[in-house]
Amino acid sequence: MTNYDEENTVFNGHYEVEVIIDRPVAGVWTQYLDIGSWVTSHDIENVYGTPGTVGSITRVSFKKAKEMDMPPTHHHYCKIVEMEREKYYLLKTYSEKGGSYGVNLTAFDDAKFSSCNGKTKIVFSVYLEMVAESIANETDPINLDVSRDGMIQNLENLKRICERNLPSCIENES
């Protein structure tokens, strides 16, 4: 092993998903900040700081963790590390001390907002590292399909809520 090789207990993953919401960015942004309203895959509880502000930390519990027979602890943390209104929202995700779901995880989850013709595009990127002894023994390649599928579903929830509840650009103008 060289002085730069990662241990075989490390898994690196990255994915990107996007959604286009037929509503102006101002309303979408406000709805996005109310994470609990559209993230249905996890229970979310604010544990530090003022919710929705930089520095605040939420405890995020994957609802299906028990059903999927994941090792404890069944929660991780998300900290808002940076945001720029209607443009950018960056979370750092990390596990409970000692691990979450059987791994030590750290990730940056970045959501970029752009606006075009009264519509909002959100590109959500995850850069993730997982560390666990079990990773070294995995025979099947690890993938992030569950996480990616969950996020696609969550963004679809956001789209549905926004398009149902927020006025469209045309309605705003009239």
């Binding site: 730069y4 990662e6 544990v47 530090y48 990390y94 596990s95 409970e96 001390k97 970045d110 850069y127």
Partner: protein, 206 residues
Amino acid sequence: MTYEAPNRPRSAITFVALLVLASCQAACISPRIDAEVGNNAQPQFVTFDQLLHIHFTLEYPIAQVWPYVIGIESWIKANPIESIAGVRGETGEIIKISVLTNDNKKHEYFAEVIQVLPRQKLVMKYLPVKSTSGVIEGLYGYDVYELEEINGITQVSFQTYQEYGTSKMSGEEFRAIMELGMEASEKRWLEEYIPTLRALLRTDLN
């Protein structure tokens, strides 16, 4: 609000332990959260998130700019950067960054190219710090370069997401040092790196 002891089954926590945990919560919510928020009256691991977003445009097509994204050492010159393993510009390439500190010690950091979408995106992951001779004991993060060409002009977005960690100083001291470093880094991008890149692109045309 209650918190479980990290990674321990609830049944294993004794009543006394619960009392201790409860009394501890006001000052230290969870050891992992403390690392994040810098509650470190006692020496312990603290983290600092270094986040940098640099967006700029280059009056050149993407085909001309891309080689500089996979060869950053030609214009990012504050610290020596070398490609030491793997294939240049491909997933798996290993890059070494040598940093000379004020006390003349050399620290080496490594990064691996983990995603390449030719002429669109390159992602590098910083590899774990193995030597702990310096203040930095933990480094986790990514550099992301994204390119988009509009009418022959390339929009470049550079973002870095890095978590640094140490147990060698207080959260406040660490933050102060790292914030200075972050300001210096942003300044370098604007005053050194981007002008150097522009000059190289101009030279290419000649």
